[in-house]
């Protein structure tokens, strides 16, 4: 066991964690909006809108995240037209490509989580709102959405942890996130176990924090 290497690599890995956290927070932020949008489309009664939203979540949940990143980073650059538009400013950066892929991926999972939360809201609650003369819009924004978010907290917590692990794939498109730096140190020193312990420890610590934060939120917003 090479403890010197573990101590020396710790600051490098810690500074790479910043990129991991940036990727995670950006994709979760945008992903929540995408997820909410598609969850609302999923509970729409129009069959085309409904099927479209289902197709989106099916495709993004049925294919590996790695394929999605590669299509966006390597694939989209191939379309000549895109290179001439302002979108190219974003799409030529691996950082933004990774965030787009993560956003679309977590959006698909989040939409499923929120949809099932919407569908498990007891009809009595909505009826109660209606009989009190509250408009449909306000019922939706002030009653359905808050309840759905509370209902989906445990599942969403898991999704955050899965996404945190997913950000490690950013290292495949040249980004130096925590996994990217860990791989670099492993391939230059050939000490995989030591680096794995340090990098894995940082990931586990983040998992621990997220897990407890979600638990705290669950308690704070419990129905009792």
């Amino acid at each position: 066991m090479d403890f010197d290497l573990m101590i020396n690599s710790f600051p490098k890995l810690l500074s790479a964690t910043v990129i991991t956290l940036k990727l995670l927070s950006a994709s979760l932020f945008f992903g929540l909006f995408v997820g909410l949008l598609f969850a609302i489309l999923r509970i729409n009664k129009n069959i085309f809108i409904n099927k479209f939203a289902y197709g989106y979540s099916y495709v993004f949940r049925g294919t590996p995240l790695l394929v999605q990143i590669f299509i966006i980073y390597f694939g989209l650059g191939q379309i000549e037209y895109l290179r001439t538009t302002f979108l190219w400013v974003i799409l030529k950066e691996p950082y933004w490509c990774a965030i787009i892929a993560f956003t679309l991926n977590t959006g698909a999972y989040t939409s499923e989580i929120l949809r099932s939360a919407f569908q498990t809201i007891k009809p009595g609650i909505i009826e109660a709102g209606k009989s009190l003369g509250i408009s449909n819009r306000i019922i939706f924004y002030k009653i359905q959405i808050p309840i759905a978010i509370r209902q989906s907290l445990p599942a969403y917590g898991n999704e955050i942890i899965l996404m945190m692990k997913g950000t490690s794939l950013a290292s495949t498109v040249t980004l130096l996130d925590l996994t990217g730096v860990a791989k670099y140190i492993i391939s230059t020193t050939f000490k995989p176990i030591e680096v794995f312990i340090v990098a894995g420890g940082i990931y586990l610590f983040m998992t621990f924090l997220i897990h407890n934060f979600i638990k705290y939120l669950e308690k704070k917003y419990s129905f009792q």
């Binding site: 999605q68 299509i71 390597f74 694939g75 191939q78 942890i161 860990a182 050939f190 794995f196 894995g200």
Partner: protein
């Protein structure tokens, strides 16, 4: 379309074999995972705190660390570890481990952590009366497990195991970083030599969708089979 032709001109046959490789790795990894689950589920359900700790350590660490990091650990550390063991037995030559074995072991250990959780949940949700009734009737532990607990557990576990299978199938795409020629690696090679990444990566996505779709169909049949009588 000529890009997908079989034979020397297209990539059809290469991608076909790559798909078979993905299926082979997924199945091997799933079986390796079952093997690990078979060891760690009893540990997690054990009466002894120290055994619980080992079981929890395994599932927590593997489920809290990115798959890619585990794969790098196996890829860079695998042959070192085997050579260390071999050196104890007096063998000092260089041993290179095949990418298939490294990959399916790495994915297998990840899939095992998820399977362990599924089995633990399924066993815990079986009514206590079933265990007690078996005991009262004097059924041996072995028969109790295979004839009473396992059939009931499978019914409860199959829907969740199908999720584990999906995760495992998608995780195999990560083995491409070690150079094993499965769908993702083959698409990478094809994209590089034809300069048509959009087409080949999209085609890879279609192949994965097809695999997940077909396996869902198959698992649904199993589900029906094991819920007879309910």
């Amino acid at each position: 379309m000529e890009l997908l032709a079989f034979g020397k001109t297209g990539w059809g046959d290469e991608l076909f074999y790559a798909t078979l490789m993905t299926i082979a790795v997924s199945i091997t990894a799933m079986l390796v995972g079952f093997f690990f689950a078979l060891i760690f589920t009893p540990l997690k359900l054990s009466k002894y705190k120290s055994l619980n700790l080992i079981g929890n350590f395994y599932t927590t660490v593997i489920r809290g660390v990115p798959e890619l990091l585990v794969i790098y650990l196996f890829f860079f550390g695998g042959s070192g570890a085997v050579m260390y063991v071999a050196s104890i037995f007096g063998y000092f030559e260089y041993i290179e481990i095949n990418a298939f074995i490294t990959g399916s072991m790495a994915i297998g250990i990840i899939s095992g952590a998820y399977s362990t959780e599924v089995f633990r949940g399924a066993i815990q949700s079986i009514d206590k009366g079933q265990f007690e009734a078996a005991k009262v009737l004097g059924v041996s532990k072995f028969v109790q497990f295979y004839k009473i607990i396992l059939p009931q557990m499978l019914r409860l576990a199959i829907p969740n195991l199908s999720n584990v299978w999906q995760i495992t199938l998608k995780d195999t795409s990560l083995i491409s970083v070690t150079g094993l020629v499965e769908i993702m690696r083959q698409s990478y090679i094809a994209a590089g030599s034809t300069r048509d990444p959009l087409f080949f990566y999209s085609f890879a996505a279609v192949l994965y969708l097809l695999l997940t779709y077909l396996s869902m169909k198959l698992i649904n049949k199993l589900e029906v089979k094991y819920s007879r009588g309910y």
